[in-house]
């Protein structure tokens, strides 16, 4: 194959991998928003924390798979605790208060991470099975990135299965579209909120652990991913999973091809995209509610 095609395919794959991880982070964010009306500023901080868990657990156990198992669960539990003991208490005060509290949680996590691990870059080595480059159709591609795409696809499939095929998923979807009605039907909505918040943090946790070997672990990890996840959720329409998926892929490709063609102005593209979409459709592509 000629080098141009190889470049297109490689960049496309990079974009796809980033888009998939981005969607994992964004899906938690959009589920939480759709259901509870909370724009969780701390979401990206949970993502970053999971990457640090991955680093620590890999050091303690010497096993990356252990990190992939335990890291997201810890993050999920932490998320559920934050909902139960902080957010539930101020739910009656409205959205701005919830925004401020999640901002506070973000600062605390950021400070804690710097306190325990410092500010330097930490490296997580992927497991040996995946730590090589495959030779596909005459181009080399790191297998670990293929694994990232693979694992996020599995999580996605499981999530879709739960959401669309189980009773629990049905209740969650109902609560996303009308929490008051679901409450009136006798379902314990506060418990459901705690579950969804924990589950959203769990998804961010999976994304954080999976991406740790690719991007390395440092406090600034949350910045880019947080901003991009925010854009995805807002442009896709708050609360819409389909919108989030579509936009996550677009942003993934925009950022990977943007770096290739417009290295200087690449960060601008995502924000320009967001501004244009919001000017035309203030609620995002699939958004219905304020």
């Amino acid at each position: 194959m000629d080098p141009t095609t190889v470049m297109y395919i490689t960049q496309g794959m990079h974009g796809l991998a980033y888009g998939m991880v981005l969607f994992l982070v964004a899906s938690g964010l959009t589920l939480i928003f759709g259901m509870m009306g909370i724009l969780n500023i701390a979401h990206a901080a949970f993502f970053m924390l999971a990457a640090y868990f991955a680093y620590q657990i890999t050091i303690w156990t010497g096993n990356f798979w252990m990190a992939l198992l335990i890291g997201p669960i810890l993050t999920g539990i932490l998320g559920a605790l934050v909902e139960r003991y902080l957010l539930r208490k101020i739910h009656s005060l409205g959205h701005v208060a919830e925004l401020i509290v999640t901002t506070g949680v973000m600062f605390v996590i950021l400070g804690a991470v710097k306190f325990f691990w410092g500010t330097e870059f930490l490296y997580v080595t992927p497991p040996k099975v995946l730590n090589w480059s495959a030779n596909i159709l005459g181009m080399t591609y790191p297998v670990y990135r293929l694994f990232v795409i693979f694992i996020t696809a599995i999580v996605l499939a499981v999530m879709a299965l739960i959401l669309f095929k189980t009773r629990l998923g049905m209740v969650v979807r109902a609560a996303v579209s009308n929490p008051a009605m679901v409450n009136a039907l006798g379902i314990n909505v506060p418990l459901l909120f705690m579950f969804v918040f924990g589950f959203g943090s769990f998804l961010a946790g999976i994304a954080g652990v999976t991406i740790a070997p690719v991007l390395s672990v440092f406090p600034g990890l949350a910045d880019q991913m947080g901003m991009d996840a925010f854009i995805v959720v807002v442009v896709g329409g708050l609360g819409s999973l389909a919108g989030a998926f579509l936009v996550a892929m677009v942003i993934g490709l925009i950022s990977s091809f943007g770096v290739q063609f417009l290295s200087q102005m690449a960060p601008l593209l995502a924000f320009a995209f967001m501004a244009i979409v919001l000017v035309i459709k203030p609620m995002g592509f699939f958004g219905e509610r304020e």
Binding site: I100, T103, F107, K114
Partner: protein, 304 residues
């Protein structure tokens, strides 16, 4: 009291006080949107930063520009930005308003970082000349002197704050509050809601621009992360919330609290972020109406 301050405390605390006053004006201009009109913005820093950058750029490129003209250019640049954005912003409210601000402020922030030949990238513009305050033939104050600059900043910020306070007491100020409480009803009563919102928006942006402009003159440096970034947008939300959204003076209290906290914490402990986060959570859990709300509560308890 304010006039005597430089003679009581040292230069260091005079500078801390100017810093406090700048952020007080910035937060009050933000509260005009959030507290009075009920418009929540994620990107108020764009007006603050654009004001600062306009002043700095004008002083770099125009030789012999008087200080008041530089200040006015900062105000003017932010007003123009607000005028350009207001046809879009006046149509929306709630989440869409917040998100559009996030988008545009990040756009401007990234532009400021990337247009290196104009803004000098991350380093920002520094070392531009600070002209003296001249009244031709009468008197000239050297603005590099921190005591003189203190008086200058106090007059500018004081007048701005007084104007904004006066504005909230006029019928127009009542209109802002009624738009927050029930925009539909205001429209039925024959007031033009989008136009009113646009006007408030331009005023709020313009005064944030003045605050940014004074900051640029005060520090003799303006950089994207100093005045234009998402951090600055968040800072003003925190200042306003901790001080108290419900009152005009709340954000001023908030700015004082944050300045004092910053002075103490940055000297004794390293984990400023963790402390800030903890304070935010505690304030929201136990004092949701901020410091102004606490004061109100105490006044009611003590004076009946």
């Amino acid at each position: 009291m304010l006039a005597l301050l430089p003679h009581i405390v040292g230069v260091y605390f005079v500078n801390v006080f100017v810093h406090f006053a700048i952020f007080a004006l910035y937060a009050v201009s933000f509260n005009l949107l959030l507290g009075y009109t009920g418009l929540f913005s994620f990107g108020h820093a764009m007006f603050f930063g654009v004001g600062g950058f306009a002043t700095a750029l004008a002083l770099v490129h125009i030789k012999g520009l008087p200080i008041l003209a530089a200040l006015f250019l900062g105000f003017f640049a932010s007003v123009v930005l607000a005028l350009v954005l207001c046809p879009i912003m006046a149509r929306v409210s709630g989440t869409a308003f917040a998100m559009l601000h996030l988008a545009f402020s990040m756009l401007i922030y990234t532009l400021a970082l990337k247009l290196r030949n104009i803004t000098n990238g991350e380093d920002g513009i520094s070392g531009f000349p600070i002209p003296p305050l001249n009244i031709p033939g009468v008197i000239s104050f050297d603005m590099k002197d921190s005591t003189n600059f203190y008086y200058f900043a106090m007059v500018v910020i004081g007048l701005s704050l007084w104007f904004l306070w006066f504005l909230t007491k006029t019928p127009f100020g009542q209109l802002m509050v009624s738009i927050r409480d029930n925009a539909k009803r205001v429209a039925y009563m024959g007031f033009k809601v989008p136009q009113t919102k646009a006007l408030i928006y331009v005023i709020s942006g313009g005064f944030a621009g003045i605050a940014g402009s004074v900051l640029a003159l005060f520090q003799n440096v303006i950089a994207p992360d100093l005045a234009l970034g998402p951090g600055t947008s968040f800072q003003v939300i925190l200042i306003t919330m901790v001080g108290g959204v419900g009152s005009f003076f709340g954000p001023i209290w908030g700015s004082a609290i944050f300045t004092i906290l910053h002075e103490f914490t940055s000297r004794y402990i390293k984990e400023v972020e963790m402390l800030m986060g903890a304070i935010l959570i505690v304030v929201m859990l136990y004092f949701p109406r901020g410091f102004a709300g606490v004061l109100e509560l105490i006044r009611k308890k003590v004076f009946g």
